[in-house]
């Protein structure tokens, strides 16, 4: 195929990403006009054709055109601003002249405008994500309708008698994609597939299974590529680079609650499966996921939805017309009675983000987020109680798991700019997090009689957990790029720094009185993580690149265990009556007393090489082989217990192939296939009796994942699959897990998403009616459970149907469309919810958390003042 690197790339460059526009601003810049200026929007673009004359040399070239668009939206003039050579200039100009636009507007009237459109030419047809200019790419296989952002202050050179508005493009600097293990999923039209939470968007990448045993405000438990990533412990979550994982959370170190993200504000999700990019930091064991926020629909959108189980959702979104997608504000209020006992929830979220040029060649993005939720938790149901009719499928064993809360207030500021051949980025963030969680996994089992305690019956195992965290940090990098050996090369150096002050307390609460009677944990910690990395993209040949480098992380722990002494060694008669039954009794040997405080501090670092060899692309195919080491810090409680190295390392390997092809203008097809193997030095296994994950032995995952997506004029279809086997090490300090399967992780996960959209063949009041149909399907194979047991399969469908007319949109969505009764989480462990039983149960039994039944939501929305 002689076609060039897709002009799509140029389109992407031109309309979505980086700061190139700022680079073009000159000294003639003027203050913004008073009248509202709307940018031109691309209606149709035409790919440029790679000049046949250049094929022999297989050279790359960059061309920047200045394109003048008349008031009718047609290209009236094309000038070469930066030449890539005569043939390349001509190819770019030929393509650009065929583009059509919604013309720019000033004061509501169409006006001529001028934009810059950079083209990058590479010899073979590559996947789109590696085409884009690293300065400002939007590496996506399915680009959204572009929004051009006017600076509204550039000089307006005369062109005959017409005024021209020069348009600046604001965007973001992105890391160059790794290859097959990396999935960037622009939601785009797939927004039609119902997604209840931001975490659901992860399913666009292969292998994800999400469960939730802790209520709708509790972080989802994530399973990925054979990892039980728990509530985020093995997956690095960020939102536009700002960390989501909690450091030092006793409930789960790395706990990542993504519910603060309004799903409609997710522009794209970038998932890198495996630790292959030097930019990936703590918790990137199974990989990392970064949410990119953005609002494509401009104007003011108000939406109200009501549906099953008393659910109501009010959503307000605002995207100023004269701003890029990265500038928006959104607020959400959601309430539901829940689909069963003790599943009531309500939440409120507000996110505001402002993105604008800063200086001549930079852009600033400021984000403010506030989120609060209150929710109840039904917890687990024992299978035997359900079968005996003692507890309903959607019931609860303990009705006291209520009053759970979580909040997040975060602020971040990100500067991105370009100075000659160096791009820089600097981000600062501050986060305040709280959560309170009440869970009862074991009923009445753990409150054993201690000699020092007054005689008592089992008082119940309800956990009342509280966590506070303040995080301050930043990240930044400088990236040089230039030509060496006639090829474009890149070198990036960057850092990540984060300091957290945290407090975790966990009490046991007596059934009936709801009064705390014992303290399980009380940790105050100061944690620091400093990472430094080098990342290179060395292009040895036009079809051979080495990407990667090295990262070093240092972790610092300063932990105060305020409940360090939980039993006495040699009790004597001097124990005061008031101290009987007190948690953390401080008596030591021979009646001596000590305060129950123990301070532990440790620090350690690790160096992690990461690299990928990229071969191709050849006829749309690109091969990649990746290897890298990752790291996960441990929970402060282990530091308090004297663990020497406060982190766990992971080694990962991937071998994959990517494919991208445009079938004319009709269909864009992308696909990936990837084999992987990952070894974790010390894995975590969920321990229901503690209500959290605890350290186990090393483990290895081996498997395959694949994904494909096809985008056409009226459809967007994506599918992915993962097959994996996860086993514990069979040698070394592996007991009692040696050679056994890692429990809970599914060995087969299939997911499909499809959206169909078109204007209906009739009009209403002379306005078209647009119909959208979304469908998603998930299949999760049997998951191994402890004691050689296996779970049921999960097979679910979600669907929606929407109609849009003028400013109005109506959407009817259904999750679990066929009302399948399924067990979302299944566990085998001892529990004893005594009130239902004639005697305690001490041997392992099956328990489960119920999956949601069919949930229908009807949403009406209107958008005014939009472009």
């Amino acid at each position: 195929m002689s076609r060039s690197r897709r002009t799509t790339a140029a389109l992407l460059l031109a309309v979505a990403v980086a700061v190139v526009g700022a680079a073009g601003r000159d000294a003639r810049a003027q203050p913004p006009p008073l009248e509202e200026v709307k940018p031109p929007t691309v209606i149709q673009h035409q790919d440029a054709v790679y000049p046949p004359s250049a094929l022999a040399e297989r050279k790359h070239a960059d061309v920047v055109l200045v394109v003048t668009i008349d008031a009718d939206g047609h290209v009236s003039d094309v000038k070469v601003q930066t030449s890539g050579g005569a043939d390349f200039d001509e190819a770019a100009a030929v393509a650009a002249r065929q583009w059509t636009f919604v013309p720019a507007a000033r004061g509501g009237k169409p006006v001529p405008s001028r934009i810059r459109v950079p083209f990058h030419f590479a010899p073979p047809a590559p996947p789109p994500e590696i085409v884009v200019d690293a300065r400002k790419d939007t590496p996506t296989a399915a680009p959204p309708a572009p929004q051009l952002a006017p600076s509204a202050r550039s000089a307006v050179p005369k062109d005959g008698d017409r005024d021209l508005d020069e348009v600046d493009v604001i965007g973001r600097i992105r890391r160059r994609p790794i290859g097959a293990p990396e999935y960037e999923s622009v939601i785009g039209e797939l927004a039609a597939v119902p997604r209840a939470t931001a975490a659901d968007a992860l399913k666009l990448a292969p292998g994800f299974l999400l469960t939730n045993e802790g209520g709708s405000g509790h972080a989802e438990q994530v399973f990925l590529r054979g990892f039980d990533a728990h509530e985020g412990q093995d997956l690095e979550f960020t939102v536009d680079g700002v960390p989501i994982n909690d450091s030092g959370n006793y409930h789960g170190n790395g706990y990542a609650d993504t519910h603060f993200i309004i799903p409609e504000l997710i522009h794209a999700v970038r998932v890198l499966e495996g630790p292959y990019a030097p930019q990936q930091g703590n918790f990137a064991v199974a990989g990392s996921a970064d949410y990119e926020l953005g609002l494509d629909r401009r104007g003011l959108t108000a939406s109200y939805g009501a549906g099953s189980f008393g659910a109501q959702r009010l959503l307000v979104l605002w995207g100023p017309n004269d701003s890029p997608p990265g500038t928006f504000a959104g607020a959400e209020y959601y309430t539901t009675n829940g689909f069963g006992v003790d599943r009531q929830a309500k939440r409120g979220t507000a996110i505001a983000q402002w993105e604008a040029p800063l200086g001549r060649r930079g852009a600033l993005r400021v984000n403010l987020t506030a989120y609060a939720t209150d929710f109840n938790n039904a917890g687990v149901v024992r299978e035997d109680d359900y079968e005996a009719g003692k507890v309903g499928f959607f019931g609860t064993e303990d009705p006291n798991q209520t009053g759970n809360t979580a909040s997040r207030v975060a602020m971040s500021a990100t500067y991105e700019g370009r100075f000659s051949q160096v791009e820089v980025s600097q981000q600062l963030f501050a986060i305040d997090r709280t959560m309170r969680l009440r869970e009862n996994w074991t009923g009445f089992l753990l409150d054993v009689q201690e000699p020092l305690q007054l005689p008592h019956p089992q008082r119940g195992d309800l956990i009342d957990f509280h966590f506070d965290e303040v995080s301050l940090g930043g990240r930044g990098f400088a990236r040089w790029h230039g030509d060496v050996l006639g090829l474009r090369q890149e070198l990036e150096g960057g850092y990540f720094a984060r300091v957290d002050t945290t407090q975790s307390t966990q009490d046991r609460v007596a059934a009936g009185t709801n009064q705390p009677y014992a303290v399980d944990a009380d940790y105050q910690s100061t944690l620091a993580d400093l990472g430094v990395y080098l990342d290179a993209n060395a292009r040895l040949l036009p079809w051979l690149s080495l990407r990667g480098g090295v990262r070093a992380d240092m972790f610092l722990f300063d932990v105060l265990d305020a409940c360090a002494i939980k039993s006495v060694d040699d009790p004597s008669a001097v124990v005061a009556p008031s101290q009987i039954d007190v948690s953390c009794l401080s008596q030591l040997e021979h009646g001596a007393y000590a305060e129950p405080f123990l301070r532990s501090a440790t620090g350690s670092g690790t160096v992690m090489p990461r690299g990928t060899v990229v071969v191709g692309p050849f006829q749309g195919f690109e091969l990649s082989a990746s290897a890298g080491n990752g790291v996960r810090s441990v929970d402060p409680s282990y530091v308090s217990q004297g663990i020497g190295t406060p982190f766990v390392t992971v080694e990962s390997r991937d071998l994959g192939v990517s494919y991208a092809h445009d079938f004319g203008d009709a269909v864009r097809l992308t696909a990936k296939s990837d084999f992987f193997q990952t070894h974790v030095g010390e894995d975590l296994v969920f321990d229901p009796t503690e209500g959290r994950s605890t350290l186990a032995s090393g483990s290895t995952r081996t498997g395959w994942s694949g994904a494909a997506r096809a985008l056409g004029h009226f459809f967007d279809v994506a599918a992915n699959a993962t097959v994996v086997k996860a086993v514990f090490d069979s040698s070394g300090a592996c007991a009692p897990y040696c050679g056994l399967l890692v429990p809970y992780v599914p060995d087969l996960v299939l997911r499909g998403d499809a959206a169909f959209f078109t204007d209906l063949p009739w009009h209403l009041a002379h306005q078209p009616v647009r119909a959208t149909l979304g469908y998603g399907v998930s299949y999760v194979g049997r998951r191994p459970l402890p004691y050689g047991d296996v779970s049921d399969v999960i097979f679910l469908s979600d669907a929606s149907f929407g109609l849009g007319w003028t400013i109005w949109n109506a959407r009817l969505s259904a999750q679990n469309l066929f009302d399948t009764r399924y067990r979302l989480g299944e566990y085998d462990y001892p529990s004893s919810f005594g009130k239902y039983l004639p005697a305690p149960t001490l041997a392992p039994e099956r328990s489960f958390t119920a999956g949601a039944p069919r949930t229908v939501l009807l949403t009406l929305s209107a958008t005014v003042g939009g472009s």
């Binding site: 054993v448 000699p451 020092l452 008592h456 019956p457 001097v574 390997r653 193997q677 429990p743 041997a843």
Partner: protein
């Protein structure tokens, strides 16, 4: 770390041949029964007496099988629910007729894992093992015949509750040292490996309660309280009375007599069959083995009551078998 070639080969084979493996072990379920020992209804000798039990009942609340040996998992301390790993359980009750060798099914099936238990626990109570409760754990009725042919009808009721079994901690700094639950759990050694679909049978031999006594019970007149004596049951929270000791067999009166066997109605002054006496309108035993551990030593039967309780909660009477389902 295996090579990428291995990764490739495995990943290709995995979907084709399914990824096998196990997390280890597996869950099991089984039927559970309790029964009396064969011959328990036959006369036997205990000291100077030939004893014929006419009724013997035990309430078993649950049984649990611990992978730790006796005394392991901290069970020899004050902990009643040990922190160890339990291989199997039958967490439901059975009221077993100890004179019948016919298996009597527990209220629930047994469950567990395919593991070996080295000790097992008989919970002589169901519900919260620490809660106060006054229901009988053991009820016994029988006759004791001395060498001269004198027959004494006796009865016994054993309860385990704070009033009669919880001695309290000897150390005030450790008030939880001797919890009531310890008095209700009998730990027995075993070596039982569980598999799915088996049958568990718990056998209790009530004769042991009489034959294992270091000082055999003395049924001579005056050595045990009369059935109507408050010392039979000094615990005010235990609602038993003389008629409660009349259990079985329910023998109708012969045509030439006005009163029959145990638990048959009678009127004051009537003569019941055998050595039974008429009290509170029913025929029943004439003397009791007291239901208390704390009777003063001067009270008749005070030692007998303590000795009977000690044997009831000893391991000697209990055996367990686990085998395949009978065809």
């Amino acid at each position: 770390m295996r090579s990428l070639g291995t990764v490739l080969a495995f990943a290709l084979a995995c979907p084709a041949f399914s990824c096998n493996g196990t997390t280890g072990d597996h869950l099991v379920s089984f039927s559970a029964y309790a029964a009396g020992a064969p011959g328990a209804g036959d006369p036997f000798t205990a000291g100077n007496y030939t004893i014929q039990l006419t009724a013997a009942r035990m309430h078993i609340g649950a049984v649990y099988f611990d992978e730790a040996p006796p005394g392991g998992s901290g069970f020899d301390g004050p902990v009643c629910i040990a922190s160890g790993v339990f291989a199997a359980q039958v967490p439901g009750p059975v009221d077993v007729d100890l004179l019948s060798p016919t298996p009597q099914q527990f209220a629930v099936y047994g469950t567990g894992t395919a593991d070996t238990a080295l000790s097992w626990q008989v919970w002589l109570y169901d519900g919260d093992v620490d809660e106060a409760d006054f229901d009988p754990v053991v009820q016994v009725e029988g006759t004791a015949t001395d060498a001269g042919g004198t027959v004494t009808a006796f009865g016994a009721i054993v309860t385990i509750n704070p009033g009669n079994r919880s001695k309290g901690s000897p150390d005030p700094t450790q008030p939880g040292l001797d919890p009531l639950c310890k008095a209700r759990i009998v730990q027995v050694p075993t070596d039982t490996t569980f598999f799915d679909g088996g049958v568990l049978t718990v056998t209790v031999d009530p004769r042991v309660w009489f034959t294992q006594q270091e000082e055999p019970f003395d049924f001579a007149p005056g050595q045990l309280p009369s059935i109507a004596d408050p010392n039979c049951n000094p615990d005010p929270d235990v609602f038993t009375n003389p008629s409660s000791y009349a259990l079985a067999p329910d023998v109708p009166a012969p045509s030439d007599q006005t009163c029959g066997g145990s638990s048959q109605p009678c009127c004051a002054g009537d003569v019941c069959l055998g050595a039974l006496t008429c009290a509170e309108g029913v025929c029943g035993p004439s003397v009791c083995i007291p239901n208390s551990s704390f009777l003063p030593g001067t009270v008749p039967g005070s030692t007998a009551g303590l000795d009977l309780y000690s044997e009831v909660v000893s391991a000697a009477a209990f055996t367990v078998t686990y085998g395949p389902q009978s065809p």
